[in-house]
Amino acid sequence: MKISPAKKNQKTSEIPGFFHLKPLLDTARILIRNRILLWEMTRRDVLDRYTGQMLGAIWAFVHPLAMMAVFLFIFGVVFKMKVQVADMPDVQYNFAIYMISGLLPWMVASDAMSRSCLAIRAQAALVKQVVFPLEILPAKVAIAVFLPIVVGHIILAAYTLLAFGSLPITYLLLPLLYALLFLMMAGISAIFASGGVFVRDIKDVVQLIVLLGIYFAPVFFTLESLPRVWRILIYINPFAHAVLCFQDATFYGHFAHPASWVAFPILSLVSAILGASVFQKLKTFFGTYL
């Protein structure tokens, strides 16, 4: 029996294209059905990286804290960067809060991207030998990377309380922002994880994105400090909208960037749908190419 390639694809997958809602719903159903396994694997993912080490999971906190301290020192102490916001006069303290507000979501994004490339490739044994819900592999990466941001926000809240005696009411928006950021990163992780099976170079592309991406988001500078023409560079960066929304929640205390509050949910949903579609389409081929 001869089957042409076009027909063959239709046979192995019922998904019509790379952008469809059904794969996302299927994926969600699979993840919910296997939620205990997902939770257990995520827990292992966080803890296992440090098993057998003396300080164990403490390293999970040392790394992000050290990174924050270095950035604070360079940009706040050495370069004496300032944030010009009309209704907030106390610039010294505010720069730290401003920078960390933007840095935390970016750390989640960069962590998720760099770890997702190998999420499936490194688990070849599971893919080939066990009847296993593969959706868990990118999903657990997207969940595990949230540990530092939660810790970071607790520290940030404590610091803000100490410095100002009150917290912006917009802190209440954080759960919503977490959910949106999770959707965005789960989608991107799924794409990188499944792409990484076929194209090894993806991890190098991602390294480049992680290295440069932070400068295309208003983390160390404010959007307003940029000349208007250059702001387009920020606006086309999907992560910049995430950064701006988080800054609104933990620094500005109001919807200072309404455009991003529209763009971020839309981009997150698009990322999740696209990621699930690509993943469901490619996952049948993992076994062959690993």
Binding site: M1, T12, D48, A125, K128, Q129, V130, F132
Partner: protein
């Protein structure tokens, strides 16, 4: 297919085919994906595989290395996509493919039982209630809290099997996973597989050990170069399979015969040589397949290139692993052969074949008795011909081991215990 038949069938495979696309370089896949232009060679691992497996059946899959056994199992398990055909699988699958399936090496055996159980679809409650039984079955109680990386390959296989078998699967797939376990554990595992099958579940088993196939399987599929070449009774298919292997070994020997004939490094002609080795039935017909328990004649033809006043002619029988099971010579039997230069001598020995089923090879030897027949240990080998003949043995009697000792039940008595 009616609803009733559907209920009875655990696995239904129809025309399954699997082509592997071989790319010279990984990015060729991407190029093909983007441009639609073919950039690969096709390797057909499976072609038109069709069969049904009933619930409660143990199906063995045999075939040489590279015949597609593992590919087929992976397709049925769902860890590999197929390029043609249809596979309907009814029920929960638990698969053990090769070693240490999905274990996290850094975690302890106990943690791996939990994680492995979740991976195989058990609920935490189910796993907790079964953990003790799994540990007991694996026999690893003393090691269970150590990291799996410290386990030997056999221990990993034991743990993998114990977890997979605890799932209460509808379909259990075992791919040579037990080849590294020891015999005691293998026996225990086969017992467990039988239990699973008797409970109405289906077992698919790949092994190279024909004895396992005979002991365990209800039906056997034989694969050759990705095609089903035979389906049927284990004994029947096993015989076909062993014939094929045997034929291949024989062909190999035929090719290498001139090499084995060379007796001395210089290639000088020996004083006597074995020119023909034949195995015959007592009625004089040549055979390559022997029945355990029957009598056969071994006919060794030797040619003398020098006068040998007292020669000894005999043979050794070796099994597939090279162990000599039996050896005899005319000197052992109290007779010697007097060879004259330029003459051929045909020696026929009668023996009863009491060997277990399997493939054997016969080594023919001619030696010169230096001190006459009384001192049988004092000899020089003139010509030794390895694999002078190869043959298979079949048996109607069920027994284990390498030889049939002809055992009968004498009596069984019962009484109150002392």
């Amino acid at each position: 297919m009616t609803a009733h038949e559907q209920n009875d069938i655990a696995i239904s495979a129809r025309g399954i085919g699997k082509d592997f696309h071989l790319y010279e370089s990984p990015h060729h896949f991407l190029m093909e994906f983007l441009t639609g232009r073919s950039r690969h060679k096709v390797f057909s691992a499976l072609t038109d595989i069709s069969f049904d497996v009933k619930k409660g059946e143990v199906l063995g899959i045999i075939g040489r290395n590279g015949s597609g056994k593992t590919t087929l199992l992976r397709i049925l398990a769902g860890t590999l996509d197929k390029t043609a055909g249809e596979a309907v699988v009814n029920g929960r699958i638990s698969a053990i493919m090769a070693l240490g399936t999905g274990f996290n090496m850094e975690l302890s055996g106990r943690e791996n039982i939990y994680l492995g159980g979740l991976c195989l679809g058990m609920s935490p409650k189910e796993i907790r209630s079964k953990t003790d039984a799994i540990i007991t079955f694996s026999g690893l109680a003393n090691f269970i809290d150590r990291p799996v990386r410290s386990y030997s390959s056999g221990m990993q296989a034991r743990l993998a099997f114990s977890v997979a078998a605890a799932v209460d699967p509808d379909i259990l797939i075992v791919d040579e996973a037990l080849s590294t376990g020891d015999a005691a554990f293998a026996a225990k595992s086969y017992g467990r597989m039988r239990e699973i099958a008797d409970g109405g579940a289906t077992v698919l088993l790949v092994t190279h050990n024909m004895q396992d196939i005979y002991n365990l399987c209800d039906r056997v599929i034989m694969l050759e170069k990705g095609r089903v070449t035979a389906i049927g009774e284990p004994r029947e298919i096993g015989r076909i399979y062993e014939d094929r292997v045997h034929a291949e070994i024989a062909a190999e020997h035929h090719q290498s015969a001139p090499v084995t004939n060379a007796t001395s490094p210089e290639g000088a002609r020996p004083d006597a040589e074995i020119v023909r080795t034949e195995i015959l039935k007592t009625n004089g017909h040549l055979v390559t397949e022997l029945e355990s328990g029957a009598e056969y004649l071994i006919r060794l033809t030797t040619r003398f290139h020098a006068d040998i006043p007292s020669a000894s002619i005999g043979f050794n029988i070796q099994n597939a692993t090279g162990i000599t099971l039996f050896g005899i010579s005319t000197t052992h039997l109290g007779q010697d052969v007097c060879g004259q230069k330029g003459h051929e001598v045909t020696t026929t020995l009668r023996m009863r074949c009491n060997l277990a089923p399997g493939t054997y090879s016969l080594m023919a030897v001619i030696a010169q008795n230096i001190s006459g027949i009384e001192q049988a240990y004092h000899f020089t080998i003139l010509h030794k011909l390895y694999d002078a003949a190869t043959f298979t043995v079949t048996s109607d009697r069920a027994f284990s081991g390498i030889a049939d000792m002809g055992c009968q039940v004498e009596r069984i008595e019962e009484g109150p215990s002392a």
